[in-house]
Assembly symmetry: C2
Homo-oligomer: 258 residues x 2
């Protein structure tokens, strides 16, 4: 988007690092990125980038160190279980130049579980020195936070539960407002007038996402921005422009994301 | 994985760059990464990294230039439609320092479509100078290849169709073999013996992926490698070890990925 002479508050930024060979090999479909992108958006935090990397220590260390200086918040998912291929905690410790230490509170929490605290399970109670724990309401092994890096589980239900407990720690940006409309016309037929509107509302993000539903082609047009009034005005202009061209359908009521 | 005195052929590497604000905002669930990871694996090509980046020209240029020197193949998805937020083609041209030119063959193919070839649609026939087109069997606008960078559509059905037409251009690595078994025991109870096996079979990748199904906890143990015999031997040892510990179930027959 080109900038116009309109006040634009830059929201805090975030990055997600998905750690796991199983995502790259196609064995597993990631289900955390969409959740985190959506939840951060509701808080007014802009997810600026995501990376999917393998379970290789040097790669994790380098990626975390690059991302934690570049973005306000970093969220990692995956690799904090008890098996040999779970290497996220020691890699994060190495990235921060800290020792990996046994956390007494984590041990206490894990003792609430019904399971033998063997060597493999105690591995999950090791965190980088000075880390704060992230509560895990669904099972006993905690995530942890070091500085601006939040280390979450890879299992979606656990990652979601952990995220719920850490939301209060995040500096939220201004609320982001969003409105969208489905237009049953081909993108190629609406691109020109849509671009004119995007230029006119350069303080907003206006996106076009084509779809095909039951043989009908169309596009979902989305307006996002920090000013509720501007978002409502822009979606109104889009609807009237598209109506002149042949008519939109299924207009979503302008909706407040957060 | 630590290396042992075992021959290990390094397979060709690849990277996927997913371009699109809609993936980062959580509006859309990506469906291309898993497909590409799986298909590349079948060809013996290792997907080493994936990045999800926004529709920002500088970011696309920088990411493509970093990845195309780092990996054998780069696949991008998204941003090649007709609307103002589709900026992948000019960004790829910029990354290679080439002009964006109207491709006569692309125009010809698009003339097969039933739609008015207006300015917005002609945008989709512009590719970096010297690019080769990637056939698009499902609709008329082609993808393109510049050097080792393959530019695909974001819509999953179109990306899949395009990938199918370019497979023959890829240097495939050795075949990768894979076998897996579901074990209905908690990871914490099997981590130690599994690690011993992973050390013994250091020429293979052995992964553990926990699950919870209908209230039962377990882990899917996966062996992958280039030597079919070693993979079969390792999964056999895992099964016998897990049987001694309490018994696996649902063992998948050792399966050839490619």
């Amino acid at each position: 988007m080109r900038e116009r002479n309109v006040r634009r508050i830059e929201p805090p930024t975030a990055c997600v690092i998905i750690i796991g060979n199983e995502i790259l090999s196609g064995k597993t479909q990631d289900a955390n990125l969409q959740f985190l992108g959506h939840e951060l958006g509701k808080l007014g935090i802009r997810l600026a980038e995501a990376r999917v990397i393998p379970d290789i220590e040097d790669t994790i260390v380098a990626t975390v160190n690059e991302m934690r200086t570049k973005y306000r918040y970093v969220f990692t998912t995956g690799g904090i279980g008890p098996t040999h291929d779970d290497i996220t905690a020691p890699a994060i410790a190495k990235a921060f130049g800290r020792d990996l230490v046994l956390d007494a509170i984590a041990v206490q929490r894990m003792q609430r579980g019904r399971f033998e605290l063997n060597e493999a399970r105690l591995k999950m109670a090791h965190v980088p020195e000075g880390a704060t724990l992230i509560e895990n309401p669904t099972s006993f092994a905690p995530g942890f936070r070091v500085d601006n890096v939040f280390v979450l589980a890879g299992i979606p239900s656990v990652a979601r539960a952990m995220f719920g407990t850490l939301v209060a720690e995040l500096d939220s940006g201004g609320s982001i407002f969003s409105a969208n409309v489905d237009v049953f016309m081909r993108e190629g037929d609406i691109a020109k007038p849509l671009e004119a509107l995007a230029l006119e509302y350069a303080d907003l993000d206006i996106g076009s996402y084509p779809f095909s539903r039951e043989g009908r082609f169309g596009a979902n047009l989305v307006v996002r921005g920090l000013d509720k009034g501007r978002v409502a005005e822009a979606i109104g202009r889009i609807v009237s422009t598209m109506t002149e061209l042949g008519g939109p359908a299924n207009m979503g009521a302008p909706e407040e994301v957060a």
